[in-house]
Amino acid sequence: MVESRLTRVLLRLGAGVTLAFIYLPLLLIGLYAFNRNVTQEWPIRNYSTRWFRVAFEDEQVRDALQLSLLAGVGATVVSLVLGTLAALAVSRYRFFGREVISFAVILPIALPGIITGLALQATILDVFGPLGLSFGLATIILGHATFCVVVVYNNAIARLRRTAGSLDEASADLGADSLQTFRYVMFPQLRSALLAGALLAFALSFDEVIVTIFTAGAQQTLPIWIFATLSRPAELPVVNVVALFVILLSIIPVYIAQRIAGAGALATERTVRGPVAPTIEAEP
């Protein structure tokens, strides 16, 4: 590239400022986890690890963490299936209403969570309830998957757009059935894109509060537990411990994914090694 020395220095400075902006508050959360006092004053006067013990002995935290993990996995699986199917259809076929799909898929994440939440709650109460679906893990997954589909869909479709449909045909010509074609031809091309999508979907689900408030019923996911604990000031320090724990825990999936797919894929990188299809304008 043509960046001058000065540009590079300025860019580095800009990147540094943004990184500092991102990480200083997180650092503070980490520090407050060791704050002995209940109130979050500054500067911190006494440090202690007492809240760690409280957090690890808290049964509610453990239950909430478990429910969050289950909901995250459930929502991720559902959105993987739905997102991949929709992406395959849109990228490989031209059909009436095709445009609507990418629009409809984006809508749940683009419209405010409170609207999605209220809408789902009203529907669960009035429609699904009488049909036998009550609030709980299933409804949490229902809500989360609805807005997680988009991240899988986007990653998959970006990848499919760059890979050739002719490969699928070649596979079929060589005698593979649909499943085999998917398993041996399409999936390897899609794998890192799906992984990136799945990871983001899980992260979105794991930290979701607003929709969950309306779809969880009496159940508590981790964010719901945190939200409830905010109104119990005496337990507030435990929240910081849990947050720190979750941040540290998240290194594991991110690291594994990076190993498998390369960090580029995590940022929804569009370039793939391998056959690249000419980008054909899809607009009629």
């Binding site: 004053e41 209403g97 609507v100 009496a218 109104s231």
Partner: protein, 401 residues
Amino acid sequence: MTGGRHRLALWTALGLVVTALAVVAAGCGGGDDGGSASTEIEGLGSSLEEIQELAREEGEVNVVQWAGYAQLTDEFKAATGCTVNTKDGGSSDDMISLIQTGEYDGVSASGNASVRLMTTGDVAPINTEFIPNYADVQEGIKGKDYNSLDGEPYGVPHGRGPNYLMFRTDEVAESTDSWSVIWEDDELAKYKGKISIYDDSIFIADAAVYLKATQPELGIDNPYFLDDEQFNAAVELLKKQAAAGVNYWPGDVAKQISEYTNGDSVVGTTWPYQYLQLTNADPAVPVSAIKPKEGTTGWSDTWMIYSEAANPNCMYLWMNHMIAPEAQAAVAEGFGEAPVNLKACELTENENHCSEFHADDESWWEDIYYWTTPTADCGDDRGEVCKTQEEWEAAWTEIRG
């Protein structure tokens, strides 16, 4: 391009219409409101022994409560086998929404929730035979508008308390004894941006309480039943206050506690709970909380059972538990309120708690107006001219701006 967009619009519209019809058709089927007032809840035992037996099978109870209300849950579980799962509501509206999801067995309802819940049939009347401790509840609190309907008790009275005026003693004179600090122009200017107000339409009543004392010509009697003129005067007062810069605290009390701790708020309205949290903090925050001379609003809460409770037996035992002397003492001190079962007074850690909260001094409560639901019917000879809950809420949105 244009064709594509037209088709998009067409498809979206078509899809919406079709699903709308389908869903509405499905939804209209299930909308029956069986508001029958019967103490017989499906699955409830027919004797105390049977209730205790069935409760062990249920094994849990889900309740909506004010933060800090549920107490001695471990002891309750040991005695009955019921695990207590609590959900904090931040306002009466919150609690009504939560109970109407059908996921909870009961609720600790203040008057502005209980009246509505009884009318809608979301809560059921109780059979006091199965709640032995009911006999120990102060007679003066039984049979009120906010805990019974047509003479039938709905739930067990649980405790009552005042909404205090709280201020930081390093910023506001300790001799303060009037609500004027949050209403009068010169005071508002002094505490600009540092006034802490409960974020709920029911707070309009607090303005009415002040007007009742300072503008007798308005003729306000009950601060929850306001006709046009009275209501507008209260709303004007609140708008003036809002313009001065107010920190509204939602039901999650932590916001107010952190503001008082950091000095972002120095004067305002509060529950005894926050006052206790602040004075018990380490280091203690220098605050004082009083019942001003004009009187104040307050609450008298009732544990009620959801009319389609999934765990009615545990809920019955829970209601009995919460008015037992031990739990009463724990809540009274933990949340900061007067118990309704005076046997609790011997069990509180602070042996003066009951006298400090005037548990058996009715005269102290005379100028405390318990939260209730505003209705068009003023309850006096003015007739149906008072502002409804809905109008209070709409006004509150405008006051907040």
